[in-house]
């Protein structure tokens, strides 16, 4: 069966089609709220040419940020737009992935994890430069970019 292989981190029990279906159901509503079209948080510099080894660190950092910051603070809007069902599917599948991600903590992986951390900081810095409401809406609206990147590791 298919699973995520972020380098040595393998994650079973997540069906990417379920996440796609959930986001597709809310894409237009969410992206229509994002008026700052001149800013893209998940820019090419964040996600392009990520090595397999980096991918476990970067996916964990991004997914945890989405759980701890984006979903947590966007929940009110999700209720307001009546998209709680899709919101819950995405959040719970991100929980299922992060709970199974075990990035290696060994010393020789330090430079790789640092490289992944620099990519994540690029994303986070861009996020923090926006008003929080706008940043949350933009980050949630970019889940399709995130899923497209994750799909490269779904084999």
């Amino acid at each position: 069966g298919q699973e995520f292989q972020f380098g040595s981190c393998r994650v079973e029990g997540v069906v990417l089609q379920e996440l796609w279906a959930a986001f597709r159901a809310v894409k237009d509503v969410v992206q229509a709220q994002d008026n700052i079209t001149g800013v893209r948080l998940l820019r090419k510099e964040v996600l392009q040419n990520v090595s397999d080894a980096e991918s476990c660190y970067l996916s964990q950092a991004l997914l945890k940020f989405y759980l701890d910051t984006v979903f947590k603070n966007y929940h009110g809007k999700a209720a307001e737009f009546r998209i709680l069902k899709s919101f819950s599917t995405l959040a719970n599948n991100f929980i299922a992935i992060t709970s199974r991600l075990r990035p290696s903590q060994e010393n020789e992986m330090f430079s790789i994890s640092e490289s992944a951390r620099r990519r994540f900081l690029l994303f986070q810095r861009e996020f923090k430069q926006l008003d929080i409401e706008a940043a949350l809406t933009k980050a949630f609206g970019e889940v399709d970019i995130l899923l497209t990147w994750m799909e490269k590791f779904y084999q």
Partner: protein, 199 residues
């Protein structure tokens, strides 16, 4: 990846002499860009394939209408993501028959290109997990069966001689739901088998 922007005339102005101007925007960049071939046009569509050819970017498009001295507000699309939203065309299907076999050669659909002279990019290069769903109908036995293949050459052997078989093929890419267009149905007959004619 042939991306056509389409729109309807303003309400109540069907048939009136309305001209349109299109502009497009790359999500995350700073300026609205214009396309000269779609400035002050009468038609209600504009081919933005060249402008949206980097399929990993996302885009917006906007159309303004002018009627006499009246100028409309711009109507804007949602965020368009070619990589996810393009329809996957059917492969080219070439059939050759023998007494008891049909060879099927599939050629992946090609990415849209502006200039026919340009080198082609196969959709297989963009979607490495592109597969084909091959359906075969035996007209004599009125039976259908299918096969999912990734390679581009398929031989159906041990078929019944002198029998009409119809084949159609759809490309599909596992992952997010994408629209796909099956190929036209092609029918061929296997050749007569002289040996069974003698029996």
């Amino acid at each position: 990846m042939k991306n056509i922007l389409q729109w309807s005339p303003p309400e109540g102005l069907q048939g009136a002499e309305v001209t349109y101007t299109v502009r497009y925007f790359i999500y995350g960049q700073k300026k609205w860009l214009s396309k000269s071939e779609c400035r002050n046009i009468l038609r209600t569509y504009c081919n933005l394939s060249a402008e949206t050819s980097d399929y990993e970017h996302q885009y917006y498009a906007r159309v303004k209408a002018v009627w006499g001295t009246n100028c409309s507000k711009g109507a804007q699309t949602g965020r368009f993501y070619p990589f996810l939203e393009t329809r996957i065309g059917p492969p080219e299907v070439a059939l050759t028959t023998d007494k008891k076999s049909i060879s099927i050669v599939l050629t992946a659909p090609e990415k849209w290109k502006k200039d026919p002279e340009e080198s082609s990019i196969s959709m297989q290069q963009i979607y490495s997990n592109l597969k084909y769903h091959v359906s075969i109908y035996n007209a004599k036995a009125n039976k259908t069966w299918s096969q999912c293949v990734t390679n581009q050459m398929l031989v159906l052997s041990w078929l019944e001689p002198d029998t009409l078989y119809c084949v159609h093929v759809a490309s599909f890419v596992p992952g997010p739901p994408r629209l796909a267009q099956p190929s036209e149905k092609q029918c061929v007959s296997t050749l007569k088998d002289p040996a069974s004619a003698l029996k």
